[in-house]
């Protein structure tokens, strides 16, 4: 059987698959397990970071697979898994309109204050 597995890279999820729309089922989709994105918190107090993706039939299996695939070397203390289709992503083609206008707005950085010498770690 020819199972086609499509993998979307972070930030490249086509619009028709984003936003929780049910992926149109055909035979191939039924045979393939859905893709999940995995987020790991490396230690208490830090944020969960995206570490990669994997295939799993359901949420419980996604967590277990994530444990086996991404925490083998003590990388984490907490796992989040979310089905990739529920991730909304910006369109790379819009990058110009979305991000470049911030380029010449240096005043948005709080760099115009004189900091006392005693203040460290800013």
């Amino acid at each position: 059987m020819n199972i086609q597995v499509r993998k979307f890279y972070y930030g490249d999820i086509p619009e028709e698959n984003a936003g929780g729309n049910e992926i149109k089922n055909n035979l191939q989709d039924e045979a393939a397990w859905p893709l999940w994105e995995v987020f790991i918190r490396s230690k208490q107090g830090l944020d969960h970071k995206h570490v990669g993706s994997l295939h799993a039939a359901d949420a419980a299996m996604a967590i277990e697979n994530a444990r086996d695939v991404y925490t083998r070397r003590m990388e984490g203390v907490s796992i989040w898994a979310v089905e990739s289709k529920y991730i909304h992503a910006s369109n790379p083609d819009d990058a110009g309109a979305l991000y470049e206008p911030a380029n010449d707005k240096v005043y948005r950085h709080p760099t115009f204050y004189d900091l006392p010498d005693e203040l460290k770690h800013m």
Binding site: L54, H55, A56, E64, N65, D68, R72
Partner: protein
């Protein structure tokens, strides 16, 4: 002393042979993530086996005043013969399909979980420590197997029928887990070994719960095969050892 060593070898052989069996899946798992999961379990078991073998080798060396060649974990794993292995028959049974591998692991991990829980209180501090360390891994194995048994038993008509087949293939090897071998009987009174007979009800209950969740029928009372713990094995162990021990027997003392 002999009983003590035999008991440790029994615990080690169980872990080593099941580890070897599971490792046969390496590169052949049904999907990448599960390939990694089953080989992870395999490595956990190998780690347990090493701990037990190292301890057994230590005791063997202490018990012989002038050993010609000191015993090591490697010698115990690679140079003993089939009849010297004391693993139970369940762990040497073939992988079959994924369902059969899962069910074998489920039966064994549930048993190992109960065993290690008790072994933590062993008067032998070293055994207690190994059991306590391994228990965390085994807890995960139990959880992982449980979800698979339910998923397959309660899945499609095909996965259900494959699980029925797996039960047929494996059930008659579960009775042996709860029969004390001679070395175990000797050590029970000393508080070193676990009376496996006492684990049976709880094991049965745990398996019942998961089977009913998986809509799998409980097998009838059937004839139970025994002998592995005394070194009398099914035809499969010879083949497993041939593969496992090939390098050391062909190139004695060879190292990576």
């Amino acid at each position: 002393m002999n009983h003590h060593i035999n008991y440790i070898l029994h615990l080690a052989d169980n872990a080593l042979i099941l580890s070897q069996r599971n490792s046969e899946w390496c590169g052949h798992g049904p999907i990448l993530e599960q390939d990694i999961a089953i080989t992870n379990i395999s490595l956990d078991l190998l780690g347990q086996a090493r701990n037990f073998y190292q301890y057994a080798a230590e005791l063997i060396n202490k018990s012989t005043s002038q050993p010609i060649k000191p015993s090591t974990e490697d010698l115990l794993a690679y140079l003993r013969t089939e009849r010297e292995f004391k693993n139970c028959l369940l762990v040497e049974q073939p992988n079959g399909d994924w369902g059969q591998t899962i069910l074998r692991q489920h039966f064994f991990s549930t048993y190992q979980f109960l065993l290690y829980q008790k072994l933590q209180q062993s008067k032998d501090g070293q055994l207690a420590a190994i059991a306590a360390k391994a228990l965390k891994e085994v807890t995960y194995h139990v959880q992982w197997c449980k979800e698979w048994v339910v998923r397959l038993g309660n899945g499609t008509a095909e996965s259900h029928s494959r699980m029925l087949h797996a039960i047929d293939a494996l059930w008659s090897y579960t009775g042996e887990l709860f029969e004390n071998a001679e070395y175990e009987l000797h050590l029970i009174n000393e508080g070193i070994s676990v009376d496996v007979n006492l684990l049976k009800n709880e094991w049965q209950q745990k398996v019942n719960e998961i089977f009913s969740e998986a809509t799998l029928p409980l097998p009838e009372k059937v004839f139970m095969h025994t002998g592995g713990k005394q070194g009398i094995h099914t035809e499969y162990l010879g083949f497993i050892l041939t593969e496992l021990q090939y390098m050391q027997k062909t190139y004695p003392g060879c190292e990576w």
